[in-house]
């Protein structure tokens, strides 16, 4: 792609209107978060921010040592695409940094705005919601930063802080809630999963005359396969491929209706849900007493 994407002129506020939908209360309740934005959201956010700063060296260090050399600025696809200066990784981190400086550093408390410190208020929160959800956590900026400053870490911290105050987006919370309900991101219910597998079995018999099994929740199989759930929904050729491979190798295998998705949207929300969604894999393996886990995605 080198040389093909021109670096845009900055256009202030170019993508500030592209805000994600607000999370629904019913999803938030399912993933242990406040149903809606708390009354005392500011205190809740600052409290969580203090906790995050104590827990992640990366966040504190990256906020402290950035020299604003601008090397990362034209590397972010969201900046290249929109031209909004707040989508430059350094400026995105600045959204966090200005609040951090105001409440957690001496320089920010003394110098205030001259040292880019800013109160956490409605405007800042709105910017956080907008721009921290315009980051895909791809970490491209970290590859070009001379100090390895990883803006994804800042983004994740910011989302964690917002989530603690009941501020999150519909897409992410809905998917995480679906994972707990149905076992996968797409919301394929166990019955539908089983039905799909039965259909593929029949289809393979009809078209190729092969007697290949698609076991579901088979206790005592050797391998638990954790595919991306789309493989049993749209990319069924991949699912057929798994089954043929296991069949040819003579390995007994199974999928689980408790955990049939390796992709983890907890990463885009907070640590607790990240861990909880990943723990399903161990849970499914224990439930089905398998020896190995094959984990796609």
């Amino acid at each position: 792609m080198r040389g093909l994407v021109p670096i845009p002129e900055i256009r202030i506020g170019a993508s500030k209107h592209q805000v994600c939908h607000r999370a629904k209360g019913k999803d938030m309740a399912k993933i242990d978060l406040p149903k809606q934005r708390l009354e005392n959201w500011k205190e809740a956010m600052l409290q969580k921010m203090a906790e995050v700063l104590e827990r992640y060296r990366s966040v504190r260090l990256f906020l402290d040592i950035c020299v604003k050399c601008e090397a990362c600025a034209d590397k972010c696809q969201f900046f290249l695409g929109t031209g909004d200066p707040k989508n430059m990784p350094v400026a995105r981190a600045d959204l966090f940094r200005k609040v951090y400086k105001r409440y957690f550093t001496l320089g920010g408390k003394i110098w205030g705005r001259a040292n880019e410190a800013e109160e956490l208020d409605e405007t800042v929160l709105q910017e956080w919601v907008t721009y921290f959800y315009q980051c895909s956590e791809c970490r491209r900026c970290a590859v070009f930063c001379p100090y390895g400053i990883d803006t994804a870490e800042i983004t994740m911290a910011a989302r964690e802080i917002m989530a603690a105050a009941g501020v999150a987006t519909k897409y992410v919370t809905e998917v995480v809630a679906k994972v707990y309900d149905t076992g996968n991101n797409l919301g394929i219910w166990p019955a539908a999963w089983k039905d799909n597998c039965a259909f593929l079995e029949q289809d393979l018999k009809d078209t190729e005359g092969l007697d290949v099994k698609f076991p579901v929740d088979a206790v005592g199989a050797e391998v638990l396969l954790i595919p991306p759930s789309a493989d049993n929904f749209v990319n069924t050729d991949t699912m057929i491929g798994y089954a043929k491979m296991f069949h040819a190798a003579g390995i007994s295998w199974t999928t689980s209706t408790y955990c049939n998705e390796g992709g983890n949207f907890g990463l885009f929300l907070n640590y607790a849900n990240l861990k909880k969604a990943n723990n399903r894999i161990i849970g499914a393996a224990r439930q089905l007493k398998v020896k190995k886990i094959y984990w796609g995605e």
Partner: protein
């Protein structure tokens, strides 16, 4: 009294702030745990590899080279010249002067002449590139202008207002041995000295801490030893979703219906 404050108290205060400040910053970062493995690839697998990578990063900024060649040239030139100038100044701190410090004197002198170039380049860059102008804050200009005024005053001291270096050395050696004496100095030297003290005091508070903090950066100093288990010191247990774990039972009725439908 003014001279006494300037040449006796201020140096001790600023060196104290410098050392305590840096130690505090390192302690603050060091005691904060690294919960997850977030090393950027391609990453070394051994500790020796990490040391090699960090040394490379510190010496010639390979990431910056990938990112922006012109900026790399400016940044690299600035840091290399700064090192040479610092080495040249060691002659004021060491007695007798070692042979290798003597050897870099001329090189250090020319480095001093050249330093304003990369500094001016970096400053111009901040002002001329719209992206850089947008993110620059007061601290960024302050650091550049402080270094610029220190180097310009230093070069002027060397070229036009030549200072009697024996007095300077007596001042510094006196401070080191806690037997300070107030020299009779030119005002330009006083300015140069004052600015360096300001730099020492500012150093631990601002972005200049990138020099040391970078070594603690988890994306650069971790290993890619993924076969070893990485322990998160503040990890907490999460509950399994028991209701969902037994989903096969939960949806047994639905499954049976499907079975019956398939039979029909």
């Amino acid at each position: 009294m003014g001279a006494q404050f300037l040449f006796i108290f201020l140096p001790y205060i600023s060196v104290g702030v410098f050392l305590v400040g840096i130690l505090y910053r390192f302690w603050r970062w060091g005691k904060t745990p690294v919960p997850l493995r977030i090393v950027t690839t391609p990453a070394p697998k051994t500790r020796l590899g990490v040391a090699w990578r960090l040394a490379g990063d510190a010496l010639w900024f390979p990431n910056l080279f990938k990112a922006d060649k012109l900026l790399w040239a400016g940044g690299f030139l600035l840091h290399a010249l700064l090192w040479l100038v610092i080495l040249r100044h060691l002659r004021f701190f060491l007695y007798p002067v070692p042979e290798w410090v003597r050897a870099v004197q001329t090189l250090g002198l020319y480095a001093g002449y050249l330093i304003p170039l990369p500094l001016a380049f970096l400053l111009a860059r901040r002002l001329l590139i719209d992206r850089a102008l947008y993110i620059s804050i007061l601290g960024d200009y302050f650091a550049l202008l402080l270094l610029l005024s220190i180097t310009v005053s230093g070069v002027l001291l060397e070229v036009f207002f030549r200072t009697y270096v024996v007095d300077v050395k007596a001042l510094i050696i006196g401070l080191i041995h806690f037997q300070p004496q107030v020299p009779d100095a030119h005002w330009l030297f006083v300015l140069h000295f004052l600015l360096v003290m300001a730099l020492l005091i500012y150093f631990p508070f601002g972005k200049l801490m990138h020099s040391g903090g970078f070594f603690l950066s988890p994306t650069r100093n971790q290993r890619a030893n993924f076969q070893e288990r990485f322990i998160n010191p503040w990890d907490f247990p999460v509950s399994y979703n028991a209701l969902n774990l037994s989903s096969a039972e939960k949806y047994r009725q639905a499954l049976e219906e499907i079975g019956e439908r398939a039979k029909r």
